[in-house]
């Protein structure tokens, strides 16, 4: 058994927050000086092979975060609701998969939710200063008072996690229960998990625990058992133990090699700088041209020519003369 996290002390000094503003490592649309010393990285380990799909985590998440998901319908599967929503931060996704090697059915049940990437695509995409922060312990959190509801985080996320609320038009996702972690507790889902399929601790502890689990799985014939801690996003602070770590995508579309989309990279990178440069250049070019070339004015001669034309007199010579320059204003 992974040692359970003790219940919080009720003494007043226990309420001291273990991390906060000073530990912000990244802040969306802002330059921050990262804290000199990084907190120990935390992680949640979801052992898919121990999960029985009871949805206690889903219920605990709704309860702890005081979310009010709508009562939906049955769509022919056990997954409910059918997708993450602004009120469903975590969702059990059920996949019936026939193992081609053994021809046996396997019911793969994966708890979906924010992965708390080391290199968070949501934060990268976010245009609102401080709407998304990353603490130095690895938690990526949304700060709703700064969120403008643009949904760029959804496009930035390689895992399709954030959802925009139709009520307050801000983005929602798993907070890794930053409020609980701040007072030394594990996330609500972890607390509720009856089989310790979800454990929480430092990232190093989690990796070590995962190794222990993977050894057991290999002994049971799951040769490709492994840890899902994708390096394409710098590793994550929510990790999975998978029986088939060679093919994550069989677990309800868990990305095989997640990374921030190159399109998002291009958008938030080269496009931004080149775009600003081009616009600035256009404006500067106009200004310079005006300074150098001066205004393009209509001359008296032009007016006279127009008058002559309207009065039906002989039209002026078709070939403009030297006099018809922009400076030529002599009557």
């Amino acid at each position: 058994m992974f040692p359970p996290i003790p219940n919080p002390s009720v003494s007043p000094d226990a309420a001291v927050q273990r991390f906060g503003e000073k530990d912000i490592m990244r802040r969306s649309a802002s330059e921050v000086t990262p804290p000199a010393e990084r907190l120990t990285e935390v992680a949640k380990l979801i052992d898919v092979t121990k999960c029985i799909g009871c949805k206690a985590c889903q219920a605990a998440c709704l309860e702890w975060n005081n979310l009010h998901e709508e009562i939906g319908f049955n769509h022919g599967v056990y997954t409910n609701p059918m997708d993450l929503t602004p009120d469903t931060f975590t969702l059990m996704r059920f996949t019936e998969w026939v193992n081609p090697e053994t021809d046996n059915l396997e019911w793969l049940i994966r708890k979906d939710g924010c992965m708390h990437c080391e290199d968070p695509g949501c934060l990268k995409a976010c245009p609102a200063p401080g709407a998304i922060v990353q603490y130095s312990n690895g938690i990526v959190d949304f700060q709703h008072e700064n969120c403008i509801g643009c949904g760029y985080c959804i496009k930035g996320c390689p895992f399709n996690i954030p959802r925009i609320s139709k009520v307050d038009h801000t983005a929602y996702k798993c907070t890794l229960c930053s409020d609980r972690v701040a007072v030394g507790q594990g996330p609500a889902c972890q607390k509720a998990c009856p089989t310790q399929a979800i454990v929480f601790g430092t990232k190093d502890e989690m990796k070590e625990w995962a190794d222990f689990r993977i050894k057991d799985l290999k002994s049971r014939g799951f040769e490709n058992a492994g840890l899902y801690d994708p390096q394409g996003v710098g590793g994550t602070h929510v990790m999975y133990v998978l029986h088939h770590a060679d093919t994550p995508s069989i677990y309800a579309g868990l990305p095989d090699n997640p990374r921030i989309s190159p399109i998002v990279d291009a958008w938030k990178g080269v496009t931004k700088y080149v775009g600003l440069a081009v616009m600035g250049f256009a404006a500067a070019a106009g200004f310079l041209h005006y300074v150098v070339a001066g205004p393009n004015k209509v001359s008296e001669e032009d007016e006279e020519n127009a008058e002559r034309l309207t009065e039906g007199k002989a039209p002026p010579p078709p070939e403009p003369t030297q006099g018809h320059t922009q400076h030529g204003s002599t009557p």
């Binding site: 649309a29 802002s30 245009p127 609102a128 200063p129 700064n146 969120c147 403008i148 509801g149 643009c150 949904g151 760029y152 959804i154 496009k155 399709n160 925009i164 139709k166 038009h169 989309s261 399109i263 998002v264 291009a266 958008w267 496009t271 931004k272 080149v274 775009g275 081009v278 616009m279 256009a282 404006a283 106009g286 041209h289 005006y290 070339a293 001066g294 205004p295 393009n296 004015k297 209509v298 001359s299 008296e300 001669e301 032009d302 007016e303 006279e304 020519n305 127009a306 008058e307 034309l309 309207t310 009065e311 039906g312 039209p315 078709p318 403009p320 003369t321 018809h324 320059t325 922009q326």
Partner: protein, 239 residues
Amino acid sequence: MTAYDQKPETPDDVEAGDAVHPGHPVTVDRYTLGARINHWITATSLVLLALSGMALFTPRLFFLTGLFGGGQWTRAIHPWIGVVLFFSFLILFVRFFRANLPAREDVDWVAHSADLLAGREEKMPEVGKYNAGQKFVFWSMSGLIIVLIASGVVMWDQYFYNLTTIEQKRIAILVHAVAAVCIICVWIIHVYAAIWVKGTIGAMTRGQVTGGWAWRHHRKWLRELVGKGNPRGPHAPAE
């Protein structure tokens, strides 16, 4: 008055309301009141879109959201302004597209564009109501607005989230950003041209230019207008 499409023999670049008033100086009606209102709605929308769009485009300009009542308001109204722009421009397009159809002299004009910039306008060919530069602005705007509205709808999650995939939305965002940069550049050209070429702004404020302005910049158009008003001219009057 002559409607531009009433008579097939009316030149493409003579628009409804275009007319010459002899006098001293000669005045020329260039834009009707409707066209001017249409233009300024479009222009205002475009400016607001540029400001709000740039606020969301780069964190350095995020402070611009203050103009719109904050980030949430900026996010909410930007697409609606886009809708206004789209329809306003659509009407503008219908008004102006015939006069902006390519003409033979455009090639010559483009070939001499360096002369124009250098101030040697006398070397430029006679052009109709719009020169090739203005046509470039018109058609660029038209194309870019279509791209922007289309990509904008894909990004407009509040109403259209479920219609496209995230990958499509990512592409749309990139396309929208690039198109926005382009349209802002086109707009800079457009505004600069209006500032640089004196006497132009009056066309969009009072609706009139002087005969000299028309003679200098759109002589072919002026000739056509004069010819239209003169029974002895090549074209019979409309009435």
